[in-house]
Subunit: 236 residues, 2 copies
C-alpha cells in the first residue's frame, strides 16, 4: 500500500497540554492533515495538563481527541509523578543534565501507543513536539532518538511491512522557544489555553520558576509577544 | 555507570501466559538474574492469559510479578481484542502472512513499558520470548525489530545515556517450538500452567486449531514430550 496523498492524510498528534504540542497541532493542520489528537493520563500529579489537552484540541478543531490511560507513573522514579520536589530556578548550565522531572522512557511509551492508534486508523504520520534547543535535557527529545524510533516503528508494524513508511514529524526540533511561539501565534494558537508548569498552584496558576515555566517565560519575552500565562501572584 | 555483574543483575521478563515466555523466565533464572515479571492486561478477549502469567511467575519463583493495564485493545483492529473470528486450521503457507490476530504495535508498546519499569528498578536487562522460526508471522517478532528497539531504548533513557547498555534478550529467537519445549522441560517448566490458545472455551480449554494451538501441538509432538494441554473435548 502506498502512502495516501499528503493533503488529506490522517495524522496522529501527541498532545501534552503544553505550548509545544499545541503549536505542532496547528502546524499539522496547516499542512492539510486530518488531525487526531491523543493525550496521556500517565499518573502525572497535575490534571491541568489533561484539561489543557482537551481545550487545545477543541480550539484548534481536531477531528478527534482521546485521552489514553497509561499509568507509567505507578513505576515511580520521577518528580512529575511521585512526591519528589520539582527543582526551581535552575540555571542554564544545569539544563544540560537530565533533571529529576525526567519520566522513564516516557516519549518511547507515548510514541509506541500513538503508533498503535495510528495503525488502527490507517495513519502513517505521527506528530510530536519534541525540541532539541530550548528543552529540559531529556534524552528522549533528541533527533537521534526520534530517528531510531521511526526505524523501530517501520519494522514493528503491519503497515510498515506492507510498504507504507511511517513518519515521525518533529516540526519544532530545531526551533527556539521564541520561534515556536512566533510560529504558533501566526497560526492562531491561543497559548492562554496551554499549560506548561510542572508545579502549579491548586487553582492552576503557573509557578514561574520550574524549568518549564522558565523556558516558556523566556520564550515569550524573546519573541516580543505578551505572555498570557496566569502566574501565581507572588511569582508574577 | 557500568552494568552490574551478570550473576546478580535484576531483569525484567515479559510474560504472556504462554509457553514461550514461561521458558524465557526459566532461562533468565538459570542465568542467575533476579527476575521481575510483567504481564499486560491489554484488552485481550481471554483472561486465561493473565491467570497463566500469575501461575507461571509463582511456579518459577519470580522475585516480583505485576500485571500492567494498557488498553491498546480499545483501538480495535485485531481478532485478539475485538469481536473478529480467530482463523482456524491455517496451513503452513498462510503462516507467512500477517494474520488478523496481529495486534497493532503490541511488542513495541509492551517493550517500551517494560523498559520504563526496568529503568525505575535499575535493571538494564529485558527478556522477551519472541521467536522467528515457529511463529505466526508477526513483524514485531523479528530480530531486526528487536535490534532497532534496543537502539531506540538506549537513546530514549537516562540509564542508556548514563553509560549502561540496555540489552533485549531473546533467547528463543532461533529455536524451533520443539527445541523450546525441550529446553524448558529440562529447566523444570510445568507447561500445564501455560495458556497458548487464541480462542479457548469458556472453561479455559484450548481449541486445538488456531495458529497458536497448532504451533504448540506440533512442538510437543516433534519434541516427543507429552502435551499437557487441556483441549476442548471435540478437539482432543
Amino acid at each position: 500500500m502506498a502512502n495516501p496523498p499528503e493533503s488529506s492524510k490522517p495524522a496522529v498528534i501527541l498532545l501534552s497540554g503544553g505550548l509545544d504540542s499545541a503549536t505542532v497541532l496547528a502546524i499539522a493542520k496547516e499542512r492539510g492533515h486530518t488531525c487526531h489528537t491523543i493525550g496521556f493520563d500517565y499518573g502525572q500529579r497535575h490534571r491541568n495538563e489533561l484539561d489543557a489537552c482537551k481545550q487545545v484540541a477543541e480550539h484548534l478543531d481536531a477531528s478527534s481527541h482521546r485521552i489514553f490511560p497509561i499509568n507509567i507513573g505507578s513505576f515511580g522514579g520521577s518528580a512529575l509523578t511521585a512526591e519528589i520536589s520539582v527543582p526551581k530556578d535552575r540555571n542554564e548550565a544545569d539544563l544540560t543534565e537530565i533533571p529529576i522531572t525526567y519520566v522513564p522512557a516516557r516519549n518511547l511509551v507515548f510514541l509506541s501507543i500513538a503508533l498503535a492508534y495510528a495503525e488502527t486508523i490507517g495513519s502513517t504520520d505521527l506528530f510530536i513536539g519534541v525540541n532539541a534547543v530550548d528543552y529540559s535535557g531529556y534524552p528522549d527529545c533528541r533527533p537521534e532518538f526520534i530517528e531510531s524510533f521511526a526505524a523501530a516503528a517501520n519494522l514493528a508494524t503491519k503497515i510498515g511491512v506492507d510498504g507504507s513508511t511511517i513518519r515521525i514529524h518533529t516540526p519544532l526540533m530545531e526551533m527556539t522557544k521564541a520561534e515556536i511561539i512566533t510560529a504558533g501565534t501566526a497560526l492562531g494558537v491561543d497559548y492562554a489555553l496551554t499549560h506548561s508548569c510542572y508545579d502549579p498552584s491548586t487553582d492552576g496558576r503557573a509557578c514561574g520558576h520550574c524549568d518549564s515555566c522558565m523556558l516558556r517565560r523566556n520564550g515569550f519575552e524573546q519573541a516580543g509577544i505578551a505572555d498570557p500565562t496566569r502566574y501565581a501572584v507572588n511569582n508574577a
